[in-house]
């Protein structure tokens, strides 16, 4: 379960001490286990900030955020890595390790989780084949196109069967057919129990896959469907 109670967030200003202006104001909502939500709103509405709170990249300035039943405002720092391993994230800018092959990038969450190498090999090979990169498993990200890099990032985010999957504009570099395939994957994971939150500008995608949405404007939740 993910729950926001009167959450406010401001980022530290450049000098590292004083907090800057608030980018999220009084956000309250609940995502039950196994939920699927669109996260909608114009650029600068705060979608990425909401996702950052959910993937434990920042802690709330005020209010309470529960992620997978852990209060991330009060949880000790050493409790967070284990929680992060249960969350898959597809970043807008992919955040792949450019010196590693596609295979090693996708394998990283499993290796951090201490899975046996034999299982990793089988799972990653299968996943790369599924996203259409079976023949490019040895290529490093700079050798791949934007769409291919995005598919590596998607494969990495789901390889460890996360309890919570967060995606920030995951179809931005994909063609229509690939975007449809990706939505099928997200829905399949959701059916198996993973909570999924997808931030997007792609209205046609939302129309084709109707689901409850959180709509943000200027850091406030304006609609919850």
């Amino acid at each position: 379960m993910v729950r926001f109670d009167s959450v406010g967030l401001s980022y530290a200003s450049g000098n590292g001490e004083a907090a800057g202006p608030e980018v999220l104001h009084d956000l309250s909502f609940t995502l039950p286990d196994g939920a699927f939500r669109w996260l909608l709103g114009p650029s600068g509405a705060g979608k990425t900030s909401v996702l950052r709170l959910m993937y434990l990249d920042v802690r709330p300035t005020r209010g309470r955020v529960l992620v997978l039943d852990t209060d991330i405002g009060t949880a000790p720092r050493d409790a967070l890595p284990r929680l992060r391993r249960r969350i898959g994230v597809v970043f807008q800018d992919f955040r792949l390790l450019s010196h590693l092959s596609a295979f090693d990038n996708v394998a990283l969450p499993l290796r951090l989780g201490g899975r046996p190498e034999g299982q990793i090999r089988a799972d990653v090979t299968e996943m790369l084949r599924w996203v259409g990169l079976g023949r490019k498993h040895g290529a490093r990200p700079p050798e791949l196109s934007g769409g291919e890099q995005q598919r590596v990032a998607i494969a990495r985010s789901v390889i460890a069967r996360p309890s919570l999957l967060l995606a920030d504009e995951p179809t931005g570099n994909l063609d229509d057919a690939q975007a449809q395939r990706l939505m099928q994957l997200f829905k399949e994971l959701n059916r198996l129990g993973t909570s999924v939150v997808v931030a997007t500008h792609n209205d046609s995608l939302v129309e084709r896959h109707p689901a409850p949405a959180l709509r943000l404007e200027s850091g406030r939740l304006v609609r919850q469907e």
Partner: protein, 306 residues
């Protein structure tokens, strides 16, 4: 978790490029070489202190001017009288007058081979060994001077004390040099680690975001730093060996009348056992400094991440 099954050589943080594999071992090798010299200084100073404490600590020299003239008190010459008093005194283990030849040998470094033929009247010199080093020789000196006026009793204790203090100071200097070298080595490794952190910041943030613990990331850095520091330590110890052997060969004549070593085995044997034990300690110490410094630096740096 401590157990990781990732394939060996898997370098997810890209540390092979970030922690330079030439500069760091080179600097650590230089530190290890300096440390070995400091250790040799420490060991040499300690050996000198032991030598002086044991060998000369119980020795007293008595000089008797005009040894062949009649004594003021009692029968015989002044020399006979002084020897008799010495041999009858409690605390004296032995008292032997040096022969003219021995005296000549003693003076040879200062007067040359002609010392024996000098027209200058030389005093007789008596080497006295005491049963204990802390005997007060002042009353004995007064008795000797009364029996043969002008007799000088020179207790080596004062000199031994000064030399012992000097050697202890040298040891302290060597110890401080050793600590300084260790501190500089730690600083070098800390700077290299911080440069590596700055270079691989993005990779660290990605791996951290995927759920890597601080100990995992610190362990990756520490593993790399330990390997590089150990390499430097081994190279430094190997470079130190010929330098230390040369120093030991130069110092060998001062240790005793042993013939100069001719075979390689003899040459290796001139190096004290403590240094043979200390040399393998250099890579081990470099490894420990590398590991602890990298661990501390990375863990401190990681606190800035959520």
């Amino acid at each position: 978790m401590g157990l990781s099954l990732r394939p060996s050589g898997f370098d997810e943080l890209g540390l092979r490029r970030a922690l330079a594999d030439r500069a760091l071992p080179f600097l650590v090798a230089a530190m290890a070489l300096l440390a070995s010299l400091a250790l040799a200084g420490w060991d040499g100073a300690a050996a000198l202190a032991r030598h002086w404490d044991q060998g000369a600590g119980e020795a007293v020299t008595v000089q008797v001017p005009q040894p062949d003239e009649a004594a003021v008190q009692g029968p015989g010459t002044r020399l006979d009288r002084v020897l008799a008093i010495l041999r009858g005194s409690p605390g004296v283990a032995s008292a032997n007058a040096l022969t003219d030849k021995q005296l000549g040998t003693l003076l040879q470094p200062w007067l040359g081979a002609a010392g024996n033929q000098l027209a200058v009247p030389l005093p007789a010199v008596i080497a006295v060994r005491l049963t204990q080093s802390d005997i007060d020789t002042a009353p004995l000196a007064a008795r000797l001077d009364a029996a043969a006026p002008g007799t000088l009793t020179e207790n080596h204790d004062v000199w031994i004390g000064r030399l012992a203090r000097l050697s202890r100071s040298l040891q302290a200097c060597a110890g401080m040099a050793l600590l300084l070298v260790a501190a500089v080595a730690a600083a070098v490794i800390a700077v290299a680690t911080r440069a590596g952190l700055a270079a691989r910041r993005e990779a660290i943030e990605i791996v951290h975001g995927l759920g890597a613990t601080d100990s995992y990331i610190a362990g990756r850095f520490a593993g790399r730093a330990t390997m590089l520091a150990t390499t430097g330590g081994v190279v430094g110890a190997l470079l130190a060996l010929p330098v230390l052997l040369t120093l030991a060969l130069l110092a060998a004549p001062f240790a005793g009348p042993a013939p100069p070593p001719t075979t390689p085995a003899d040459m290796l044997a001139t190096l004290p056992l403590t240094l043979w034990l200390a040399l393998p300690g250099l890579p081990a110490s470099a490894a420990a400094i590398g590991f602890l410094t990298a661990q501390g630096t990375v863990r401190w740096w990681l606190r800035r991440l959520p």
